[in-house]
Amino acid sequence: MDKEKISSFVDGEFDHSQAGAVIDALNDDPALQATWKRYHLIGEALRAQDDNFDVFGVSEKIQVDLNNEPTLLAPRAKPAKVSVPWSGLAIAASVAVVTVAVFLQGGPESEGPQNAVLDNPPPVVAEPAPLVAQRSEIQYPEQTASLSISPNTQKRLEGYMVNFNERRSTMGVRGMPPHVRTVGFENK
């Protein structure tokens, strides 16, 4: 697989019948992956100059949605150093599906029938070591501060969701085709 093909691939100018071969080559060859990353970063930088391309893959529309949402997850106080991830998640727009809820002890989610699990915790499978017992007593914040989640953090969570849905699609009895959750984000 030569670099010219990779370049064509990054630019979207390639024979689709060869897509499988290109993907396999990229998956198998770290050097080609490095080349791909480099070309991709160059492309993103050029696009960013041309039309203010969003290097984080979060469309403006979705970013507005995010800004209007209550806080999803509260990042720690450590300020976000925003780097340019070469592999920012393609489905960044699915952030809109992540329904936000007030969280943690004392919040609304601790009320209602679901709380039965916490009120009557099922028996621990293994005898808990002291360290584990200590961990289970972790004190979470009482309420969510009104902070905006950083793009990097948001993408990481999205990546987890996508990977979860992929595994779900291959495991157990499916009461719901898992990928509908990925496709069917809320449109506002």
Partner: protein, 318 residues
């Protein structure tokens, strides 16, 4: 040979007509039919105030499942699963994401996971008959025996065994998400062209996930939950390089045969953000916390308190 087997399976599936079929057998038939039949259908998916229409094209040929899911409302989006990879195409973002399909590792599970095992943790009952997409359906209620998982109500095509409608119900009888076909047909074969993405154009950004065990970095193996709801067993565990994380991620998968839980652990970068708290996506909940230098996130198709409890129990063991 596979085609012959497939034909036999279809024959068996379609032969089992009748209203007296026990719920557990219906579920087993649905489990097999959704994977081993070739079909094309349109359905409505509802989660909270959001309602979307989608089309699913599913082919089973020579032992390989290929599936294409496309949005018919809102932004144009497609997800194509085949034996090797999952390709997500998002026209609204002009992006394509390709990830290796992990199903090869767990392929055996999906056909051998006995419905009988589910009966230990869920009660099955018949909830009558109905008509969905102009097809006669048997309704099966799947009720958990403990409050740490969800209730499912599933409409199953009497003739083909396919899922026609599904509702996932949380505490206080809250409908978390539901899906209902408006039309569906089983076909003998499906052309390759029907399973190819249509909305990819020049200018799309392609992103790849160098997946599963390729990093060779096993340093974060050893993180595991010390508590799981009864019946959830470890199904798969590996270190993955995700498109969205700069560090390799330890990913362990647990299932009781119906619900599934993922436990993700990754080392935090010096300049990385951490996250603590929860989020939800329909019936899927996620809870994140930080343990020293590691980010722990549990994602599961189970109630939030259960997800939280699992996340709190995750610890590193030498």
């Amino acid at each position: 040979m596979y085609r012959l087997l497939s034909t036999l399976v279809v024959g068996l599936m379609t032969a089992q007509l009748g209203a007296a079929e026990p719920p557990a057998e219906l579920l087993q038939r649905m489990h097999d039919a959704t994977r081993m039949l070739t079909y094309d259908g349109i359905f409505i998916y509802q989660r909270g105030p959001s309602i979307e229409t989608m089309r699913i094209m599913h082919r089973y040929d020579s032992g390989v499942e290929t599936e294409r899911l496309i949005s018919l409302s809102g932004p144009r989006r497609e997800i194509i699963r085949d034996g090797e990879r999952v390709t997500c195409v998002f026209a609204d973002d002009q992006e394509v994401m390709v990830e290796k399909n992990p199903s090869q590792k767990v392929l055996g599970l999906e056909f051998t996971q006995p419905i009988d095992k589910l009966a230990t943790f869920y009660g099955f009952s018949s909830a009558g008959q109905d008509r969905i997409a102009d097809r006669a359906a048997q309704v099966v209620a799947v009720n958990p025996k403990t409050p740490d998982r969800y209730t499912y109500k599933i409409w199953i095509d009497e003739q083909t065994g396919l899922l026609l409608k599904s509702v996932i119900i949380g505490g206080a009888d809250e409908v978390l998400e539901q899906l209902q076909f408006t039309q569906i047909q089983v076909v003998d074969s499906m052309a390759d062209a029907m399973l190819q993405p249509e909305i990819v154009g020049s200018g799309f950004t392609w992103r790849f996930d160098a997946s599963a065990d390729e990093t060779g970095d096993q340093s974060d193996m050893g993180w595991a939950p010390n508590w799981m709801p009864a019946g959830f067993e470890l199904q798969d565990e590996n270190i993955e390089t995700m498109a969205t994380s700069e560090m390799p991620v330890s990913h362990a998968v647990y299932s009781d045969g119906l619900a599934m839980v993922s436990v993700f652990v990754e080392k935090l970068m010096d300049n990385g953000d951490s996250m603590e708290g929860h989020s939800s996506m329909g019936a899927v909940n996620a809870f994140s916390r930080v343990d020293g230098e590691h980010q722990i996130t549990v994602v599961g198709e189970i109630p939030l308190p259960t997800v939280r409890q699992i996340a709190a129990s995750v610890a590193y063991e030498e």
